[in-house]
């Protein structure tokens, strides 16, 4: 399990636009670099990120090798109902991780 850092408010007013910041520990090996033995290191990146709000995808992104190690993504979400935000990262070598945050909307 990779370490993740998720910055999302726990309470919000209805209709408020919230900033969500996410970061996950991952080397994002590009597949273009040479290793210590001179051979190219195989690619190992996160290819896809998605954010679901109460099960519905609100934001998703395709990532490429040009994204830095430990991919950071910040975006916004409109608070429209109490519930959960689910973050999913998927990538090479069967990498998959899901984290969630709960939010109370008043």
């Amino acid at each position: 399990m990779a370490r993740t850092l998720i910055h999302a408010p726990t309470t919000a007013r209805k209709g408020e636009v919230l900033e969500i910041r996410t970061l996950i520990a991952h080397p994002m090996e590009t597949g273009y670099r040479a290793g210590a033995d001179g051979r190219t290191l195989p690619r190992d990146i996160i290819r896809r990120f998605s954010c679901r709000y109460n099960g519905e995808v609100v934001f998703s992104a395709d990532l490429y090798p040009a994204i830095s190690a430990n991919p950071y993504l910040a975006f916004n979400v409109v608070a429209d109902a109490s519930g959960s935000l689910t973050f999913t990262w998927e990538g090479d070598n069967g990498f998959a991780q899901t984290e969630s945050a709960t939010i109370t909307v008043s």
Binding site: T30, R33, S60, Y64, A66, I67, S68, L73, F75, V78
Partner: protein, 153 residues
């Protein structure tokens, strides 16, 4: 009759020439998109025309470390169901691969702003594109100077 050497510029000529060169360096004409970027854009838009504007691609013009370069793409457009930003993508000119990131947005995002950190192999041009729900594409092109490139160690 004319005993001047073949190349004998006067002080005035030299000054004028120097000014001309300086102008060429400082004032670069309207940036034409490089072939690489045009191709990448066409792949994203499917051949639809793109226009400059609406998009603001925020990146430092002088990058000291190409391994992590913070970027923010903001689109000046509302996020209503009738009129919203559907996708934001970033392309580069000289990394091994043209794509950097491609995001899909829904009206529930509320504000069309995306931030991340990217790698830059060298000094190059980058372009951010936004696709709106009416099918139009808007771009913003930036030139970035990179002093320490990514992928060297």
């Amino acid at each position: 009759m004319n005993d001047r050497p073949l190349f004998d510029p006067s002080r005035r000529d030299l000054l004028a020439a120097g000014l001309g060169v300086g102008l060429c360096v400082v004032w670069r004409p309207a940036r034409a998109l490089s072939d690489e970027l045009t191709g990448a854009l066409r792949g994203f838009t499917g051949g639809a025309p793109t226009r400059e504007g609406k998009v603001n691609f925020d990146i430092a013009p002088l990058v000291e470390n190409g391994n992590t370069v913070p970027i923010t793409v903001t689109v000046d457009n509302p996020m209503t169901t009738a009129n919203h930003v559907q996708a934001i993508a970033v392309f580069n000119e000289k990394n091994p691969q043209r794509e950097v990131i491609a995001c899909k947005l829904t009206p529930r995002v509320g504000r069309p702003v995306v931030s991340t950190r990217i790698r830059l192999a060298t000094t190059q041009q980058l372009v951010a594109v936004a696709k709106l729900s009416d099918g139009s594409y808007w771009t913003h092109t930036v030139d970035v100077v990179v002093t320490l490139a990514a992928c060297i160690e």
